[in-house]
């Protein structure tokens, strides 16, 4: 047994397990060996250790672990204190040791195998050797053994140094890419371009290369894509097809050379590179692209080359800027680069851990951070891209960042706010360019494209062209127009006119062509005629012979006031709604082209004899209302009415703007003619032909109620009871229209309520019911008003089908087919008729869940004393805590259990008499009234008779005036005996239903 030394116990036994959930093994914690077998000594040791724990249970560092050990002491005592149990624990511990040894053996074998593979593959380089030494430590291989084995492996040959010319080709490609990406760090090395460190393995390089190649395939053509493709090709050659160490060595050499002057300066004064100088040089090396380890190595080599020593122990702990690679002390306060302001750290999207922004993957969970960091950097540069007029690139970068970071990321949202307006502005400009091109306005298109080339040069139009190429097309059209214009210069007369028109055809916005045409006046139009037409004057003329001419029409009143422009048109006809009724006017028409104008042609004077304006006729209940807009004091309005039923004509006297005719009869049809009489200058009156309208006064209809809404095959039908008069309109409203039922509504307001549905007969149809809830508002149009009906609420849910109701005693078992996706239903029932809806105040209802339905095998309703029940089942949905119901007007959603009013007949059978030898049968229900004829049948044995023919008739009851009870002597009857009452005639089953009492009464022992 090992000795117990309190001085070393904590450090050797407890400390390795402090803070972890795992405790020292049972034997280890008491410093026992597996071979220890002396029960007394074991118990003494356990007591000793326990005492020690008691003292140390409040230890500031190990108190928690010791407390747990104390709690487990009792359990340990049971296991170790009992020889048999201890033997089991020893077995388990030995098994554990065996498994651990097995694991260790396997780890050593694995390590040996890797070393052998590397030896076969050409030997070890220093980096691999360092990795293998670490692995050996982890596998528990003694360092000396591991080193000896590694020493036996030949060193891998140094790769060929990549020559300077190749490196300069790479540097040039990287510089171009860095400029394009605006990421100075990219120019440092091919590794940096891929977001990798110089010591990245081939697998990592290959993975990143593949990823970038995929992205490059997606990129749109441009310089960024071309630069990436070049860098990808170089990376393939120098990092994947060849040993990347050649490239890395070359880089290290270049950086050493770059730092040499400074190193020499540092050595010159005291023959050494002290700590401050070494750190400074290392930081510079890191800034130039080396890893801290390679930087340390480079400074050491510089010192050696210059015969100096380095007074520095370790590598610098810095974090490089992901954009410009400037190193910053890790322990400092810098969150952003002091040079370019880029964030130095990023939070892992997987676990939230803070990582260097240059890290390839998260140090906590291993999530790939490269794309994440690249996306964040790309977002930071969007502002600059927009300033450069690279809206297209900014849009692509934003889309890529959105894919990587997700649309909800705050950085994406902020960048989107910046980029989206620029993208929209570019789209708008392109739309204007398209319009100008379609209208053959190349000058305008060119202006717009010049501006687009400045603000969004890389933003393609709808056809995929960039502003520059679209501008070339516009220039071509302009050149064509200019050529035609030049040709016109040498021509005269009609030839010159045709050439100028052709130039305008090529470029409608060619101002020079327009100006030249302005100098050639068009030919005048022919004869002009003017006449009244309803509430306006109509003017017509013979067109000008000049092609492309327009016409300017002016009005001159005989009463004076000068010429008033009526309008311009390219047709030989125009209407004048502003001519003053009763005035005498003339119209002049001149042909115009550009700024050139012909001599005018003028009409004869004409009287403006207009009909009344805005004439309306509305039939009401016992009246007809006529209205119009009067033409000031001009003319006199005359109204004539014709009763279409008998042809009677009546002249009516109107007010200035209308009349209400109450001398009409509902149901008759009337024709109203409204004319205006104007005085002519000569004194003779002129009557207009008049405006005619029809009216049929009707009684005011009642508001529509009880709409029945049915869903069928994606459409909703709304059935209504057609009113005696008026026209029904059903408006679909998204919200409750909250109108008072019975109120009058101006029909003009219907469109504001919602969409009017097509109505056919007594059904309106909604072919496109909205998802969720809506309201169907019925209105009855009657004359000038719409009478508000009661709306029906509808929820677009699939309809319940196959509703069945089955009687089980005094209960009705209701079952139905649940449509897909519906898990809640409203069962509503009435005893007099079908429920009108879920809100029918006379209906009883219950909400039923699908689970409840399955558990109970349907819905059981108590019939009570009722014999009929009308059930409707509505689909339902819980929306924000409120239950909304769908419609259930379809036949399948309803069921009726209707039994004719049958009289229930119940009876009792009991034994009576002192010796129980008498049998008394009595009809208990109905208590009074006429009974059908009943027969009591007795059957020998203990099986009930099933029909009258199964036994002997023992008694007769009921019938007209017959007895309600009977008494039988059992003496003489065979026993056991089974008795049962039957309706004597089959016909009685139509009006009566017979219920047996309990079997105990019917089986006579």
């Amino acid at each position: 047994m090992r000795p117990f030394d309190p001085k070393t116990y904590l450090a050797e036994v407890v400390a390795p397990h402090a803070g972890s959930a795992e405790l020292p093994g049972l034997f280890e914690r008491y410093l026992l060996d597996l071979d220890d077998g002396d029960d007394a000594a074991i118990e003494a040791r356990m007591t000793e250790v326990k005492r020690y724990w008691d003292k140390k249970s409040t230890h500031p560092k190990y108190g928690t672990t010791i407390e747990t050990l104390r709690e487990r002491h009792g359990e340990a005592l049971l296991s170790l204190g009992d020889a048999r149990e201890r033997a089991k624990v020893v077995d388990e511990a030995r098994e554990g040791q065996r498994q651990a040894a097995e694991g260790a053996r396997r780890a050593v074998e694995d390590w040996d195998r890797v070393v052998a593979q590397l030896a076969a593959a050409g030997g070890l380089d220093p980096a691999r050797r360092a990795q293998l030494e670490k692995l050996a430590d982890r596998a528990g291989i003694p360092r000396e053994t591991a080193r000896a084995k590694l020493d036996a492996v030949p060193a891998a040959p140094e790769p060929e140094l990549l020559d300077a010319s190749q490196r300069s080709v790479i540097a040039a490609a990287l510089a171009a890419l860095a400029r394009d990406l605006r990421e100075p760090r990219v120019r440092l090395s091919l590794f940096h371009a891929f977001g990798l460190d110089l010591d990245a393995g081939r697998e990592a390089i290959a993975a990143r290369w593949r990823e970038r190649s995929e992205a490059s395939r997606r990129d749109s053509h441009g310089s960024a894509k071309a630069n990436w493709d070049r860098v990808l090709a170089l990376a393939k050659i120098h990092l994947l097809d060849n040993d990347p160490r050649g490239y890395v060595h070359g880089l290290s050499l270049e950086i050493r050379e770059a730092l040499e002057p400074e190193a020499i300066k540092a050595v010159a004064d005291d023959g050494q590179i002290d700590e401050v100088e070494a750190e400074h040089l290392q930081r510079q090396a890191v800034a130039l692209g080396l890893t801290p380890e390679l930087a340390q190595q480079a400074i050491a080599e510089l010192a050696r080359e210059n015969g100096a020593v380095v007074r520095s122990g370790g590598t610098v702990d810095v974090v490089a800027c992901p954009n410009c690679n400037r190193p910053h002390s890790r322990g400092g306060d810098d969150e952003r680069c002091q040079s370019c302001g880029t964030a130095l750290f990023i939070a892992c999207p997987g676990c939230g851990r803070r990582n260097d922004a240059t890290a390839a993957s998260c140090g906590g969970c291993g999530t790939d951070l490269h794309r994440h960091a690249a996306a964040i950097r790309a977002l930071a540069k969007l502002g600059a891209l927009l300033e450069e007029g690279r809206v297209g690139q900014a849009r692509e970068d934003l889309e890529e960042a959105t894919r990587v970071l997700g649309p909800a990321a705050p950085e994406v949202a902020a960048a989107s706010r910046e980029v989206t307006p620029a993208v929209e502005a570019a789209k708008r400009s392109w739309a204007e360019v398209e319009a100008a091109t379609a209208e053959r306005r190349p000058y305008a298109a060119r202006r717009l494209l010049i501006e687009l080339g400045r603000t969004a040069a890389d933003f393609p139009g709808p056809g995929g062209d960039l502003p520059a190429s679209a501008r070339a097309a516009a220039e071509g059209q302009i050149a064509e127009a200019e050529e035609l214009l030049a040709r016109a210069t040498g021509l005269s007369g009609q030839e010159r006119e045709r050439a100028l028109v052709a130039a305008l055809g090529a470029a409608a916005d060619c101002e020079r062509a327009e100006r030249e045409l302005d100098k050639l006046p068009p030919a005048s139009p022919g004869a002009v005629a003017a006449e009244p037409s309803g509430a306006r004057m109509t003017i017509g003329w013979e067109p000008s012979v000049t092609e492309g001419a327009r016409y300017a029409v002016t009005r001159v009143s005989a009463a004076g006031g000068g010429e008033i422009l009526v309008g311009e048109t390219d047709r030989p006809r125009i209407e004048d709604p502003k001519a003053v009724a009763g005035a005498v006017v003339r119209y002049s028409v001149a042909a115009v082209r550009g700024r050139a104008r012909s001599a005018a042609a003028t009409s004869e004077p004409a009287l403006v004899a207009l009909e009344v304006a805005d004439f309306a006729l509305v039939a009401g209940d016992g009246e007809a209302r006529l209205s119009w807009r009067p033409h000031g004091g001009a003319g006199r309005v005359l109204v004539e009415r014709r009763d279409e039923s008998d042809g009677t004509e009546t002249a009516l006297t109107p007010d200035a703007a209308g009349l209400t005719d109450r001398s009409v009869v509902n149901g008759r049809r009337y024709t109203y003619r409204v004319r205006v009489e104007y005085p002519r200058p000569g004194g003779e009156a002129l009557r207009t032909p008049g405006a005619t309208a029809f009216a049929e006064p009707v009684e005011r209809p009642r508001p529509l109620r009880d709409l029945v809404v049915r869903s069928d095959a994606g459409a909703v039908s709304i059935d209504f009871q057609p009113p005696a008069s008026g026209t029904v309109v059903v408006v679909k409203c998204r919200e409750d229209p909250a109108l008072e039922v019975g109120a009058d509504l101006d029909p003009a307001r219907l469109s504001a309520l919602g969409e009017s549905l097509p109505v056919s007969g007594a059904t309106a149809t909604d072919g496109d019911p909205p998802p969720g809830r809506c309201f169907y508002q019925p209105l009855t149009l009657a004359g000038a008003t719409a009478i508000v009906g009661e709306p029906a609420r509808h929820v677009a849910l699939p309809e319940i089908a196959n509703v069945r109701a089955l009687a089980n005693g005094r209960r009705a078992q209701v079952t139905w087919q649940w449509p897909e996706g519906v898990t809640l239903a409203r069962v509503a029932w009435r005893h007099d008729r079908q429920p009108v809806g879920t809100e029918d105040p006379k209906a009883t209802g219950v909400d039923y869940r699908l689970g409840e339905y399955r558990d109970r095998g349907g819905c059981s309703l108590d019939l009570g004393e009722q014999s009929s029940i009308f059930v409707a089942v509505y689909p339902a949905l819980r929306v924000e805590g409120e239950i909304v119901y769908g419609s259930a007007a379809g036949k399948g959603a309803r069921a009726t259990l209707r039994s004719e009013r049958k009289t229930e007949v119940r009876y009792s059978v009991r034994r009576a008499g002192r010796l129980q030898k008498r049998l008394e049968i009595e009809v208990s229900e109905p208590a009074e009234g006429v009974l059908p004829e009943l027969v009591l049948v007795g059957r020998e044995g203990d099986i009930l008779p099933r029909a009258v023919s199964d036994g002997t008739v023992l008694a007769r009851l009921g019938g007209d005036g017959g007895p309600r009870a009977s008494s039988l002597e059992l003496r003489g009857l065979a026993r056991p005996l089974a008795v049962r009452l039957f309706l004597d005639s089959a016909g009685a089953g139509g009006s009566h239903v017979l219920f047996d009492p309990m079997a105990d009464e019917l089986l006579i022992g």
Partner: protein, 390 residues
Amino acid sequence: MARPRTVLCPYCFEPWSTKLAAFRCTSGDAARCPRQPDEPQGRLRGTEPPLAPRVLQRQGRLGQAFAVKRGSPVRCECGAPARPVCPSCHSDLPQRFAEAPSRSMGLIGTKAAGKSNFIAVALHELEHRVGPRFDGSLMLLDDATRDRVDRELMPRLYREGAVLEATRSARGDATVRAPLVARLTLGAGGESSQSNLVFFDSAGEDLQSLDVLEREARYITQSHGLILLLDPLQIQAVRDELGGSVELPEASADAYTMLGRVSGLIREARGIPAGKPIDAPLAIAVSKFDAVRPLLPEGHAVFALPSHDGRFDPQVARSISAAVRSDLGGWLGERFDSFVKQEFSEFAYFGVSALGASPVDGRLPNGVAPLRVEDPVLWMLDAWGAIPGR
């Protein structure tokens, strides 16, 4: 509650005294606990003895042999814990199986009588409707039962709304011999009663052949009670009366013959002499009762009498039995009833419908709406004295 004195294994149907218990080592390490040929398992399966971890026997006071202290599992000599198995056939026993009396119900009936649907719906009703009304609960006891009920029977019937497929014959598939084992607890507190219900579902054709019945359906001879499911649509008189109003199944062997074979087997297995009735209760349940409703008077007891709502009402059971017995007498003649009376000391008739309506193309558009499907089970529990307060 007192532990039972004997327990019937639901797999080999051998009863054993609860003085005896057996446990099988759970060690997965064959090196530590060498595998041994398991003769009883081989006998049960009809195969070579499989190699399995060792089985330990333990003896204790009556009812205590299987008792295990909480947190101190029975361990094999190799140190690994051991789980309870049947001392006779070494099949794994459902959890805490020996703590409650086992009552097995054998379900027999002709082909397409609706036996599987009946069992599935009866279990559902006991769990969801009857159990709660009797302050009780139903717990499925073993993995095979849970798998079959939760993954096969219930989803098909209650989620998909499709009737169950015909049970495979035990001749072709040994897994169908596995029973459905559930523990039904009725009542609460000191009044409660627990029963391990073991339902056997057999393919109808297995019950129609004497040799197959002898070989594959031996459990019937050991069942504590039998439910005979009678399909009325296979009775000629009913078929004639209904005419073409409902879709009729193919008529199978008659129930009378089947019951004769079963009772003969039981007598033989239990050594009951002719003239002495079999003491296991027999529930004769007329299935698909909804389909024969048009042939019955409007006030028929099956439809008119209340269900056993939280209390088993023997008067109601007797009245329904009398009415259905009378109907069956009319359809089958008195021969059937006479035979039942002669062969079984305790019997009753029932009218049930597991599905509540005839399926349409194998589907139940309105789901399962059972009718009195729990009645035979409750009656049998009552006959066994397993309903508290009765």
